[in-house]
Amino acid sequence: MKSFLEISHIDMVFETPKGPFTALKSVDLKINKGEFISLIGHSGCGKSTVLNIVAGLLKATMGGVIINDKEVTTPGPERAVVFQNHSLLPWLTAYQNVELAVKQVFHKTKSKAEIRDWIEHNLKLVHMDHAMHKRPDEISGGMKQRVGIARALSMQPEVLLMDEPFGALDALTRAHMQDSLMEIQDELKNTVIMITHDVDEAVLLSDRIVMMTNGPAATIGEIQEVNLARPRNRVALSNDPEYNEIRSNVLTFLYEKQRKIETITGKQSTLDETEIKEQIA
């Protein structure tokens, strides 16, 4: 079967003063329409680079991304991005932030009234209709992120790209946001690529979890299918043996196979399994 989104043989080499640095090496991934993919890995492994290449904000040194038989060359609203730090424009209200996106994408196809309805519909979807005329500095971090998601959804993207969307939120708010996102996903069935650090978040939300090895020359280590029935409930799942097995698989990958040692100087060094064993011995 032909896949909807294909990340094909991507290499990413950054030129640094110390010479070329290979961040990614042959990253290959096929994603089906409506699939929810999580990218998980230690910080600095190049997850964001993968996402930015799909978004078109970075250009891969080798290889490329094909969506719907078209190669990605520039950023565009059909690949909406939810940034980690909400990135709302602080001089605009929540409504105006979404409006900027909707007007840009639909100014030819929607009438004024339709545009207004569509903005309000998307803000309702993320439960932000009560505060849509507030500015970002008047609402909480979770609410800002909700507006950021509404802005991305309002573009009706083919793929929704989320770069650690809940990373800056506290645990309770994060749980709320995850529930909201699942609800929206049940309704819209978007194709989503989400970067996360949080194993529980990855298992709860995804259809597949893509685990990345540590850089330099990071690539896809393992892919974990998550075939848990939807709608998923975090409380019920906590006693589910399948859930726990998946969770432990991801944890094993991250903390045993791809363990990252923080040295005292704060510099991060990566060691493979055998080296760790040697060290322990």
């Binding site: 978004a55 078109g56 904000l57 520039t74 950023p75 565009g76 609203p77 690949r79 909406a80 991005v81 940034f83 730090n85 990135s87 424009l89 602080p90 001089w91 900027l100 996106a101 840009q104 994408v105 500015r135 500095d137 573009m155």
Partner: protein, 331 residues
């Protein structure tokens, strides 16, 4: 029930008391301290003034300045009345001639009396504002272009860095010569002296505005630029919707800086070039050398300071009106 009511009213009066106390504290902090500062300054000034003797008499103290404020105002009134009378006489004369000879083309001549202190203040204010606005019209678009384009920045930066430290007064002779060579017209809209001062002001406003605007534009949050890229905003819309609002705080920092410099430079330029304005007033009084001169100059000094302060405050209020970033410390 009664006791409860008592309690509530008791609490009520108690909290009003607290509010009043806090208010008093606030008032004493924000009003009493500055007044105290001014009083101490006046005391030091008048003691110092009493002990300085110059060839034109004692250095003017607060009393002498207050006297001159009244004097200058009365001179201004007197001059205005003279002018009114002049125009009245002229009108009557013209009406008479017209009655005798219907073909007569009435001549209207402007009053050419001495410019008063008030006139000089207005002249200086108009000059500084026009020069400042002209600079803003040039510098803000240029700053945005330089901030957006790294290559333009690299190309222009050395020129800006070299001209930035030049005192605009050094330009003044060149400006004067160029204006008198190029600004030739039978019926000039502006006086040459005004154009000279204006260009000098513009020259000194230009650099801080270009530099601050370009820094503001080039240091826009990368996330916002990415938002614009994802939305595929066209260049003009990108500038209008993202760049301009994002760099308003930096633009205003540059504008306030340059307005402050411009006001200082203008006074010096007026003194040097004998162009009408507060600077000329100071210089004329100095040349005059009467027993009142020093106190008049001192009055001018205080007025210059006060106007500079008001200019800065008004820029600040425009900034806080336009800026989205209410957290910036507005000092």
């Amino acid at each position: 029930m009664n006791t409860l009511m008592d309690k509530i009213t008791f609490n009520g009066t108690e909290s009003t008391k607290l509010v009043v106390i806090n208010l008093l504290k606030h008032v004493s902090q924000s009003i009493a301290l500055p007044i105290l500062g001014i009083l101490v300054f006046l005391a030091l000034w008048s003691t110092a003034a009493n002990n300085i003797d110059t060839s034109l008499g004692k250095f003017p103290g607060p009393g002498a300045v207050a006297e001159q404020v009244v004097n200058l105002y009365q001179e201004h009134r007197a001059e205005r009345i003279k002018a009114e009378k002049f125009y009245q006489r002229q009108e009557e004369r013209n009406a008479k001639r017209l009655a005798q000879d219907p073909n007569y083309q009435p001549k209207i001549r402007p009053y050419t009396g001495k410019e008063t202190f008030w006139d000089q203040i207005i002249t200086s204010l108009i000059t500084v504002m026009s020069g400042f606005l002209l600079a803003a019209i040039i510098a803000i678009p240029l700053g945005i272009a330089v901030g957006l384009s790294r290559s333009l920045n690299t190309a222009i930066n050395p020129i800006i860095q070299i001209f930035k430290p030049v005192s605009p007064l050094a330009w003044l002779p060149l400006v004067t010569m160029v204006v008198s060579a190029l600004y030739v017209s039978d019926d000039p809209m502006f006086a040459k002296s005004f154009v000279n001062s204006l260009i000098t002001v513009t020259l000194c406003c230009l650099w801080p505005m270009v530099i601050n605007t370009s820094i503001g534009v080039s240091s826009i949050d990368e996330d916002w630029v990415n938002v614009s890229k994802v939305l595929q905003l066209p260049a003009l819309k990108h500038i209008q919707k993202i760049v301009l609002p994002a760099s308003i705080p930096a633009i205003f920092t540059g504008m306030r800086l340059s307005l402050g410099i411009a006001w200082m430079v203008l006074i010096a330029a007026e003194m040097l070039a004998q162009n009408p304005g507060l600077g000329k007033f100071v210089w004329d009084e100095f040349q005059n050398g009467s027993s009142q001169s020093l106190s008049r100059i001192m009055t001018a000094v205080l007025v210059i300071g006060l106007i500079g302060f008001l200019l800065d405050r008004s820029m600040l209020s425009i900034q806080s009106l336009l800026s989205w970033n209410k957290q910036t410390d507005l000092r």
